[in-house]
Symmetry: C3
Subunit: 165 residues, 3 copies
């Protein structure tokens, strides 16, 4: 989804952040940061649905860090939903916010968009922001930095604001 | 929802597309393009809830076509959620993306808004886009082109961008 | 989330509205305006999940009034979703629309954002609108005006549009 037009625009602000998603699997109550709360008819909630994997919705409260280390001090939380929406491959639909709360970053950034998970770089929309990011719009490029089984996912997000206020 | 103000604005780009929603009813695994994944307490997932029909969420992966023929070659997929949110009539809330992937259209368009399903033309917001639709905003007018029972719905979407980049 | 930058901007339009959320608890079918439709594994749908309260999604069709009286004549409906997304405190993620239908207000306003429920004033994004609010963007400040147990919540919303058309 790289646009010809992006070449003509320079971001007015950029941010690179990581967030860490640990899916609740029925055993990891203490560590889990997200829970699958829906499944298509006939599937349960503690593992991604199988060959008809359309319909899992996960609710997130994932820590955000400045680098790719799960154990770094979080600068905020990624909160919202992650919906698995394809029968034959892995794609997702995302609606979530970054809630940042440090001396440097104080405010929230709101995202929505389709996430074709198996593509290396996927673009979603930054549709608004509050606080430090008041009224901002832009594009976020999401990359799967790593994953372990179907439990831990680390996502890198390159946020490029093209409309700052 | 026609605004007085729309008269003063001309779209910078328009698109007419159709998408086709076949709800999973427990039997049509091969053809279904969406699944109802939530229901209010006491209802099941393979049919819209009855007289308390508030709370069905459907997850979509619907083919998009250039004309009103389900069997035309898809130009992309409509992915996201469709939520039924009224007790006494049919209204929905939509959060979804058009992911387009042809030589002519390459990019995604992100929508949210209320959909008073029984109104002939309903307007929702185009809140952003990527690729060919980088940073675009506008209005999408949704029309129910046809439906068969509570399984097949064909929607026509007239997309009018008022902010192009 | 008050931004330094908001000081430099004056809204082009403001609105103060209230909406009233009565959660379905299994007994209040006649009065309920929202239903909890998901819960984390192991919880039921008629009460907010307990010590692992991550994952309740509620679907809303709440009346909107001009003052803080549940029994005032509604000017519209708040429709969409309210997601509880934290393990250790109360935070929510909101995706919803105000559908207004009076002689004065005719159109819809679309919101998304994180709602740290225990904070007195929380800002979310107004990402678009239709009709009277065609293409508008802004910030909505949400305040919990009152609540009764875990059933009735009254929210005050101060909508400030910074981009009018």
């Amino acid at each position: 989804f790289l646009s010809k037009k992006t070449k003509h625009h320079k971001p007015c602000k950029t941010l690179v952040l990581y967030f860490h998603d640990i899916i609740y699997n029925g055993k990891n109550t203490a560590n889990a940061t997200s829970a699958i709360v829906t499944a298509p008819p006939g599937y349960n909630l503690t593992i991604l649905a199988g060959n008809f994997h359309l319909g899992n919705i996960a609710v997130l409260d994932d820590p955000i860090t400045l680098d790719n280390n799960l154990h770094s001090k979080p600068v905020g939380q990624a909160q919202g939903l992650h919906m698995y929406d394809t029968k034959n491959t892995f794609t997702a639909w995302l609606g979530f916010s970054f809630v940042l709360n440090t001396t440097e970053y104080k405010g929230s950034i709101n995202f929505i968009g389709a996430d074709p998970t198996l593509v290396e770089e996927r673009d979603i929309s930054v549709v608004g922001g509050t606080g430090e990011f008041f009224m901002h719009r832009g594009i976020a490029t999401i990359m799967t930095d790593t994953f372990e089984g179907e439990v831990y996912f680390r996502l890198r997000v390159d946020i490029k604001f093209y409309e700052c206020w």
